[in-house]
Symmetry: C2
Subunit: 489 residues, 2 copies
């Protein structure tokens, strides 16, 4: 059973590091063994190094054969030419779950590396070894304090990340953690000797601790299998994917990185259309989208109401919404009349986007009232509250924060909203007040972004995801009407 | 003479504020008069308000007629219906240079506002008044301590900003100042009653203190005139333009903001092709491009060498360069051999982008050597040093900073380079070290950006600008050869 096998690797009770080294103060990286110690792994951890008696205070073993038990995960961190020998030791000792950290294989493009990769592939395939890597960082599980790099995130949560890049595994989890996004499992799998993205996907689809799956892919061995899996899994666990190496230069870079074949833009365009998976363009973009998927329930459409401030900003917001594919439905005359009862005419435009600084400055009185009107408008499905902290000023920020918190219970689930803020002026006091606002709202479960574009892009992707299935559902039930077309456009 | 007239407005020895109010502690905005006082204007400043004896400690006058002199600039800040009367006072007193702050005219789209705009237009045109506005923030000149909003920037420099939005005037100058970009003149001109962007352009083209002109435009009255002016001026003073309101939603927003007709995407596409002006897509983007234009001399091509770190990052860098239109020429075998003499094989890829963390960690030894090799490579025209501060760590940052500084004299002018940094992990110590690095390098005249994408986009625009004229020059001299085509593509 793939699930049971991988679950043992992702929740290992025992780990051996072959090629464990002592921490070298001259290097920034702690090494595989040092990093796992530092991250707080509570299982049985064995360093293997024939030249050392102890490694960072732990008794060392000369080889896998001398270990007291077969372990749930063997991590190989020896020079590339020594890797085939270690794999043979794995076969002898009944160790089947392996992560090869070592680089210097297919990705070099050199005859030596290609030959070595073929050699370890033969050993692995002929003996049924399950190999993560080579040329990768392997597994990080915050819940277990298991991490192979310096300062791995310790925030557990329902997001999994399957990454062909070890650097991205670190960067994405670090960046996402800033938004309070926690992780169930992170895996960096490099050259994909035997275990590929499709294997991890199958495992995560059944993992009860994973609700959203994020991926960074360079190449894939079995495109048809990936398509079928993602199409199926995405219905219940949203799948967000960055495909690296689609351009000419990117394809070359991918070949040097994980030795994969990238390119094939047409395949990937069709892939996203057919699976409904969400395509992200950068790690930041993927984190912003994940935050929306994680915190917001669902939406019935792409009509958005934006609270902004300033005429130029409102033009930029409108252009951004058009470009990104969010609708800005005009307010009905009735809604405009209701808004006019508490928003003065001077300096406040009662249109969508709403240019009404007044509502923000008197947020305690008017924020909930405004949201009630939005709630009643049939063609508005979501809202973005765009805060310009330079204009609000540090004194007013706590009032705005608590006003936004009061509207959560009635709205976040029914008509989701997000908050974004921006600051252009160098002013530490305002910056600090903005960061407090951000933290309080994030802690309260509201997605908060640092630019309108990030917020709009996240909501566009979030709504694309939900509308994809609502549209399909209507087609399947033969409820299709002409006007539904716009939902899918 | 337009130049002399506008020069009096932009360097006024005396200013009167009609409708000057006392600072209201309940409001965040200081008001026109309070803001000019706060910004440190040294000229003669007259508050006009018939209901007050003094305004913020300065003797008030009841009207323009009672002033001791005609002033170089009259600022009108009274309710819209009172504006025609004040303009008539201007005519009576020989005051010709006027800024109307007041909103409530054409931009409302309402009969009252449209009628009022027609009325003030007639008075202005029939009496030769030069009017900035209505519905705008007017003039900011850091050198004179003249500013009409709270906390205007005080950094003088060679960049001018002509903006149809007052909010953008503040935001752009604040954001740009963070990069050490100083301003000669900033003007927010709103509904453009008599003075339009073309007038300000003509003035700035002759202004000896302005070397780069940035613009935010929503609409323009005379497109042909704008095209001719920009085509001419851009040859000697780069013109960077954001055009707001090109989308469907944006066009509607522009109508409510400054009452302009936006849209006409085809016109604007042709405009940028024919003038060679640089198109920016956001205030941030415009500031990044301005920084490159300001600090870097010129380039002979779009070949860039990137110092990066990490395989996934290198793929992202490559995809970004392809998408943005920068070339990543492969290193010659000779250059690769030279790099191999000091860059070890393990974990360092001698390709372009260069994945060589080693060079950064031993920056004092290897940075200059690497730059010398880049300098010799004929198809590399520029470089980007991309720093991942999480991986470099706060201890190594000062070494990297000083190594980068040492390479400036030999390179910045001949083969321009920029630096970018990113941090994904929440770590105040690293963040602080990165901000110190950023400040030191900016102070040393090196463009520094907070993401690779920003750096690449700025270099792409910078090189587009220079190659536009180099290409034209070759065509004009009949030196055109087939391979030159790629310069212009």
């Amino acid at each position: 059973m793939l699930y049971d096998d991988l679950d043992r690797m992702f929740a290992p009770k025992s780990v051996a590091v072959v090629g464990a080294k002592r921490i070298d103060p001259a290097l920034t990286y702690l090494g595989m063994f040092g990093a796992i110690q530092q991250s707080g792994y509570k299982g049985r951890l064995y360093p293997i190094n024939p030249k050392l008696k102890t490694v960072n205070g732990v008794k060392a073993y000369p080889d896998l054969l001398s270990l007291p038990e077969p372990v749930d995960l063997v991590i190989i961190s020896v020079p590339a030419p020594a890797v085939p020998g270690i794999l043979k030791d794995c076969v002898k000792t009944g160790n089947k779950n392996i992560h090869i950290f070592t680089a210097g294989f297919k990705e070099t493009g050199e005859p030596t590396g290609l030959k070595l990769q073929k050699e370890i592939e033969d050993i692995a395939v002929n003996n049924g070894l399950r190999v993560i890597g080579p040329n990768c960082m392997g597994i990080c599980v915050p819940e277990l304090g298991l991490g192979t790099w310096n300062n791995p995130i310790d925030l557990k949560g329902p997001v999994a990340f399957v990454s062909q890049s070890g650097g991205h595994a670190q960067d994405f989890s670090n960046y996402a953690a800033n938004f309070g996004i926690g992780f169930s499992k992170i895996v960096s799998f490099g050259n994909a000797l035997t275990l590929d993205s499709t294997d991890f996907l199958e495992y995560l689809s059944q993992d009860p601790k994973t609700e959203i799956i994020t991926m960074y892919l360079e190449g894939v061995k079995n495109g048809r299998k990936l398509l079928g899996l993602v199409k199926d899994i995405n219905k219940t666990k949203p799948v967000v994917i960055i495909k690296g190496g689609l351009t000419k230069s990117g394809t070359k870079a991918v070949a040097s990185h994980t030795g994969s074949m990238a390119g094939e833009e047409h395949f990937w365009n069709a892939f996203f259309r057919q699976t409904g998976a969400i395509r992200a363009h950068s790690l930041e973009d993927m984190a912003h989208t994940t935050l929306a998927l994680l915190r917001l329930k669902k939406t019935r459409g792409k009509g958005v109401c934006v609270f902004g401030t300033g005429g130029g900003v409102v033009v930029a917001i409108s252009d951004t919404c058009s470009r990104i594919g969010l609708d800005l439905p005009p307010f009905s005359p009735r809604m405009q009349r209701s808004l006019r009862t508490f928003v003065p005419e001077a300096g406040n435009m009662i249109k969508n986007p709403l240019d009404a600084h007044h509502i923000l400055l008197e947020a305690d009185k008017y924020m909930a009232k405004t949201m009630d009107l939005i709630y009643e408008a049939p063609d508005i499905h979501m809202a973005i509250i765009s805060l310009h902290t330079d204009w609000i000023g540090p004194k007013f920020m706590p009032k705005v924060t608590s006003a936004i918190k009061t509207i959560i219970p009635g709205h976040l689930k029914e008509k989701p909203f997000v908050v974004c803020w921006r600051q252009t002026r160098h002013d530490p006091e305002t910056r600090q007040a903005a960061e407090v606002l951000e933290k309080e709202l994030l802690d309260a479960g509201i997605p908060v972004y640092r630019s309108f574009e990030h917020a709009a892009l996240a909501l566009a992707r979030f709504s694309d995801y939900h509308l994809y299935y609502q549209f399909q559902d209507r087609v399947n039930k033969n409820l299709f009407k002409g006007e539904e077309m716009k939902l899918a456009s």
